[in-house]
Symmetry: C2
């Protein structure tokens, strides 16, 4: 039996037997190192011609994207980066300049987040291959897990616009596309594809909102209503829930410790992120297609259907998709600004619906079918 007979999913099922279930299955593996902190670890392997190609990506951008993808996985766990290691396989005929540019791109991205390359390995091969492993530290009670979402009055937050990376790729591949765009808009979409930014900047805002920055925050308003899609149109913070879960749990010594929130990054698409978190948490969701943040310039570029398709399935936007109590979510969205939005609410069913608060479209099930398959 060969790999092609069982496919990626078949292979993953076999390999999972060798990994303890309690430390895998999220954006990073999480290893407790002491009672208060864990080590978050993530690995990506990139192969020339499969994950990058000189025809579409400069080595500088390939390096940037590789670093960004790993840092985004750390951000999706709530982890602060410590370092990355890089294993590199090159052929005898690989250009030295290619390697230098790849490392330049990687370090340019890493330096924004004060993350060093802590060595690695260099070998020869018949195909250029890069394996990056990123390490970060996360406070145990801040670990963002896919399985942490709850169904009562929890909102789903996208930390920024979706579809920009897909639009940038289209601009790069199709010279007839987007000729009406101004240079600045064009550059901005292309950069979203070539040099995506991992949303590590969201974490301090999140900890502040959740009141776990070492200071006791002023009491937050309790969460809204009873959940479900109708809440999406409610004015923020206008209703006081009665059966709402507390916004913070009492921690030791009277200091509030944060709620364990849920989330992952949208590297494999927004739809995939929503579905993965809902499945891991055993909750459903109503996601309002009118609330999904897309680049404003899309109105001059593509139909609303294509815009939604790119936003849900384009992938590689490297935003965070966070699930947390609605009142916290509203504060977070306000703090992030710049495209962040509450796009839906969890429900206590297991169905995931794409709804339409404008009333034009009926509810349809959100499918993962159009999500990326890496293999």
């Amino acid at each position: 039996m060969l790999i092609k007979d069982i496919g990626e999913q078949g292979l993953l099922r076999i390999l999972q037997k060798f990994c303890p279930a309690e430390i895998v299955g999220d954006d990073c593996a999480v290893l407790p190192t002491n009672p208060h902190q864990s080590l978050a670890v993530t690995t990506d392997m990139l192969v020339d011609g499969v994950h990058f190609s000189d025809r579409t990506t400069s080595p500088y951008d390939a390096g940037w994207r590789a670093a960004a993808a790993n840092l985004s996985d750390l951000a999706a766990m709530g982890a602060k980066p410590l370092a990355v290691t890089v294993a590199l396989a090159v052929t005898a005929d690989t250009a030295v300049l290619w390697v230098e540019e790849f490392y330049r791109g990687m370090t340019a991205c890493l330096e924004v987040y004060h993350t060093p390359i802590a060595g690695g390995d260099v070998v020869r091969s018949s195909v250029v291959t890069i394996s990056i492993t990123a390490f970060g530290e996360v406070e145990c009670d801040r670990t963002i897990r896919r399985s942490n979402a709850r169904s009562e009055n929890w909102a789903i937050v996208a930390t920024g616009v979706h579809g920009a990376s897909r639009a940038g790729l289209e601009l790069l591949l199709n010279p007839e596309f987007g000729l009406n765009l101004e240079k600045g808009d064009r550059t901005s979409l292309i950069l979203a594809h070539q040099q995506p930014k991992p949303r590590l900047d969201v974490l301090p805002m999140l900890w502040e909102i959740l009141g776990c920055e070492g200071e006791i925050e002023p009491p937050l308003s309790p969460p809204l209503g009873k959940g479900g899609k109708q809440d999406l149109n409610s004015p923020p913070l206008s209703k006081v829930g009665v059966n709402s879960p507390p916004l913070t749990k009492g921690g030791p010594g009277g200091v509030n410790s944060p709620i364990a929130i849920a989330g992952m990054d949208s590297s494999d698409g927004l739809a995939d992120a929503i579905i993965q978190v809902c499945r891991a948490s055993g909750v459903g969701a109503n996601v309002d297609r009118q609330k999904i943040p897309i680049p404003p310039i899309f109105s001059q570029l593509v139909s609303p259907e294509t815009a939604l398709d790119w936003a849900l399935y384009g992938g590689e936007d490297f935003e965070l998709v966070l699930f947390l109590p609605i009142a916290n979510a509203e504060l977070l969205v306000e703090k992030i600004g710049n495209g962040a939005a509450i796009i839906g609410m969890t429900t206590d069913s297991t169905d995931i619906w794409l709804t339409d608060s404008s009333g034009i479209y009926g509810d349809i099930r959100l499918e993962s079918d159009r999500g990326f398959q890496h293999f």
Copy 2:
């Protein structure tokens, strides 16, 4: 300019520009995570046809050896393993059984040392490639560094026999070789090659000898004599040095903290390990060829010259080569038993001599020329 024009050393020089010097250059990168502990990290990439081949290595053994090599790097830093991540590239025509056997071998080795596989990545490629990253924890004052060796009365310890892996390889490659061996001896040499054991078991003995197991050890005798090759023949612990460095340094709160000892593993050969540590520490060494531990069975198998050649340059024995004060070294060797030996002493020159306490051979410079080049 292509990679073949600059070679491995040229490429490494370029890549070093991108890595902070203070965290690389040892068997592992060392990242301080809190005032008392550091994270030790090591990465290996293995390519089908370059680092393993079905013609010489079963997938089970390839997996075992990959795990062992990474755990050995942790042992060489004094680090306790936390976990490994594995990134795997397979072709469409890779046999599923090959992958399962590789993981079975890897986990068989890892389980001996209670080390889980904390996930990884699976991708497709035109050549089977595995990248393993191992991480462990090390107490800051126990970190074993290549640069820690001192020149006064410090001994060089090999934690076990050398040359066995090379002999095992010869037995596998050459059916005419070693026909006189008994089956048990044959199997033992072949296993030394196929399933080497990382010397993580040495670390608790080392901490105990150095008096850093949380207990205050009874005071150790101060180190011996003035160093140099003549000390190799001194009876253990019979002389008391006057100008000797202390065996333990006073730590906070009156608890003795350990001496920072030096070392690395002998995966690239015993000669390479000795030379690397001496260079990194700015010390010289006299290594007595009569003291280098080799498998006793070598006397029935090869000439003394070949035995020495295999011991110094065979590589892949995955023993530790430790540099520490002679009195500690003697206690350690006694504790390890089973092939461990003091093979030489450091000196305050920068020359590294291969001496002969039997008087047959004159002193010759120990060269690294015959060491492995990976590239």
